[in-house]
């Protein structure tokens, strides 16, 4: 039950990221000057007279500029328009935008930015995971298949990367590049850095599996039928590591989403105005004391927790043993795969 729920949420998040331009009522940098730091709007069904309508919102009116306090102007009903202008939902009136999660300091829709931000945050995490797994398969596969000195060296290298202080390495690597880059290059850069830091666990696991599998009869049979080393490795041995790689991916994606958030939070990842969950948190936490007044600005934090929780639930059982497996006796040497 919970596993199905977790998987459903993961799929929904990925779909939401992909369909962001359609699901979001507004563009990621549309500004509404009358709605700076406006709170989330409520969708109404009943008007003040107690009559039922299709979902509508009331425009917000600023009553206290100093405290950014808004009240609903319930003399006007602005109906939500469905499937209009290339958006799932939006409103007709430019002075009454649909702000489901409120607006930020610059009057931009937090909900829309959250959706567009998912593309950067989840996208870069997925790309980084893919890269880390690729390096892991390459290094681990070759080390496990070749054995001997190559194996020893590769595993020493993996050990070395594994015990580095990860955050510091990521920061130092990022700092070697110019601070100001265009978003697409930042995306590639972050994904590459994450892949470079995240491969060792994958490599160790793959190596352990390949080293065990290559002694099995079916590998010998493939060899004696005339298959080359590469073919044996790729077609016959690597498929045995599929399950392990899937578990590894589910461990990496949430931690990479967090890594993006941390990097952007300190100003070394994506930068304004590119929406990402990290840049949004950075904007929100500019003045920690303001957080109390505008809690909706922390919705990216909720999104990050939601994704991490969903992944936890979706892989309940797998990652539980995964955690113990990471911590097992002699974790530096003899990994056991069950």
């Amino acid at each position: 039950m919970t596993r199905a729920l977790g998987r459903l949420v993961v799929v929904l998040v990925v779909v939401a990221a992909a369909a962001a331009p359609w699901l979001a009522p507004h563009g990621s940098s549309d500004q509404f000057a009358d709605y700076l730091n406006a709170p989330p709007m409520r969708l109404h069904l009943l008007d003040t007279g107690g009559r039922w309508h299709r979902p509508f919102v009331h425009p917000l009116r600023l009553v206290d500029r100093l405290e950014s306090r808004y009240v609903e102007d319930d003399s006007r009903r602005v109906p939500v328009r469905w499937f209009a202008g290339g958006h799932l939902w939006s409103t007709d009136a430019p002075d009454a935008p649909l702000l489901l999660l409120g607006a930020d300091r610059l009057g931009r829709d937090v909900f829309s930015r959250l959706l567009f931000g998912a593309r950067a945050s989840v996208g870069v995490a997925l790309a980084g995971t893919l890269g880390a797994l690729l390096i892991g398969v390459l290094v681990g596969g070759l080390a496990g298949y070749a054995g001997g000195l190559a194996d020893e060296l590769a595993m020493q290298a993996a050990d070395f990367v594994l015990i580095l202080p990860a955050v510091y390495v990521v920061l130092a690597l990022r700092a070697t590049m110019p601070l100001v880059l265009e978003p697409a290059r930042i995306f590639v850069l972050i994904a590459t850095i994450l892949a470079l830091v995240g491969w060792p666990m994958a490599a160790r696991g793959v190596r352990a599996i390949i080293a065990a599998e290559r002694r099995r009869d079916y590998a010998a049979a493939a060899r004696s039928l005339g298959a080359g080393h590469l073919r044996v490795l790729v077609r016959h041995l690597l498929p045995a590591a599929r399950g392990f790689l899937a578990v590894q991916a589910t461990l990496l994606v949430p931690s990479f989403i967090l890594a993006e958030a941390t990097l952007s939070f300190v100003g070394l990842g994506f930068v304004e105005p590119t929406p990402s969950w990290g840049t949004m948190l950075y904007e929100a936490a500019r003045n920690v004391r303001d957080l109390g007044a505008f809690p909706w600005l922390l919705s990216p934090a909720a999104a990050i927790v939601l994704v991490a929780l969903a992944v936890q639930l979706a892989t309940a059982g797998d990652t539980g043993s995964g955690l113990l497996w990471r911590a097992g006796p002699g974790r530096a040497r003899n990994l056991q795969i069950d």
Binding site: P165, L173, L291, L313, R333
Partner: protein, 327 residues
């Protein structure tokens, strides 16, 4: 001295040697990486309106115009004598800066680890040995807490603090503390509450989950059945007979936890303005202060290596099986 002792010491020595090599490699790499990066600490002078000659003079004074290999050899020669050079930005010896900051990070880390252990271990023993709504609620809470990384937990606690005013949000509070060591200790402890809780939360959950699984596994062992058959009571079974084997698997995670704790501490320090090593490293990177970056990287890897070393040796002492195939 017994053979077992000698083996344990040999193991510790080998691990220490490895840690030293690690420190050397990491700090050298940091120095080279930052040197490769565009711009250096004199970039601000240009913004301050100084001409190219003045900047060149300043670079010469700081030794930044010499070839990298040359700079590196000088740095290495000094580092051997534990002199890590002078911070170009703060104009103070890197060693002094590091000393101040690493103490703060260590304090934060130690407090968080203590809170996480004190909360996580007993809860884990309870959830691993009992059924009912309470253990189930604890389990759900810790699965949720596992998904709240320190960056998020510190932001959420900052939100809570801002709304309720229960505890202060930023800094150490030393500036506005009253006179006397006791008063300043109390102020620091008060300001330490939020960062400690933020950092401890995910680790308390990790420890709870592991201890829970390990307790359940230990209770299924034959020697527990035997003890139960001898008439040992339930409480004694759980808290004496099952605890020791269960603790071993949790002790194994401490090596990893210390690494993650260190990473988490960075985020917490940034959010709550706790003046630790993480903030210093960040400032150093942004201002391209190469000696400070190298120093921070060195201090960070010493910190991490020492933590892992301590936990590995403790584990080897707890579990004789590890010593035999020790690297």
């Amino acid at each position: 001295m017994t053979t077992a002792h000698r083996r344990l010491i040999g193991y510790a020595v080998r691990r220490t040697a490895f840690a030293l090599v690690l420190v050397l490699l990491v700090s050298s790499a940091a120095l080279v990486l930052v040197d490769l990066a565009p711009g250096d600490v004199t970039a601000e002078l240009f913004a301050a309106g100084l001409g190219p000659e003045a900047i060149a003079r300043e670079r010469h004074r700081l030794g930044l115009d010499r070839p990298l290999a040359d700079q590196y050899v000088t740095w290495l020669g000094r580092a051997v004598r534990l002199d890590l050079g002078t911070s170009l930005r703060y104009q103070r010896p890197v060693r002094d800066l590091l000393g101040e900051r690493i103490g703060n990070t260590a304090l934060l880390g130690a407090c968080a680890l203590a809170v996480a252990t004190l909360v996580g271990l007993p809860l884990g023993v309870v959830t691993g040995s009992r059924r009912g709504w309470l253990p189930r609620a604890v389990r759900a809470a810790s699965l949720t807490a596992l998904s709240v990384p320190p960056l998020i937990s510190s932001l959420l606690l900052a939100l809570l603090a801002a709304r309720t005013g229960w505890f202060p949000v930023g800094g150490t509070g030393l500036a506005e503390a009253g006179p006397g060591a006791l008063a300043s200790a109390a102020t620091v402890a008060w300001h330490l509450t939020l960062p400690t809780l933020a950092l401890a939360l995910p680790f308390a959950a990790t420890i709870e989950r592991l201890q829970s699984d390990a307790t359940a596994a230990a209770l299924a062992e034959p020697h527990i059945q035997a003890a139960r058959a001898r008439g040992v009571g339930d409480g004694r079974l759980v808290w004496r007979h099952a605890l020791r084997p269960a603790l071993r698997s949790v002790a194994a995670i401490y090596g990893i936890i210390i690494g993650t704790l260190f990473s988490g501490s960075f985020a917490v320090e940034i959010v709550t303005a706790w003046p630790g090593l993480g903030r210093l490293m960040y400032d150093a990177l942004v201002s391209r202060d190469i000696y400070l970056v190298a120093g921070c990287a060195a201090a960070g890897s010493v910190f991490l290596a020492a933590g892992t070393l301590a936990s590995d040796v403790a584990l080897a002492a707890l579990d004789p099986r590890l010593r035999q195939d020790a690297p």
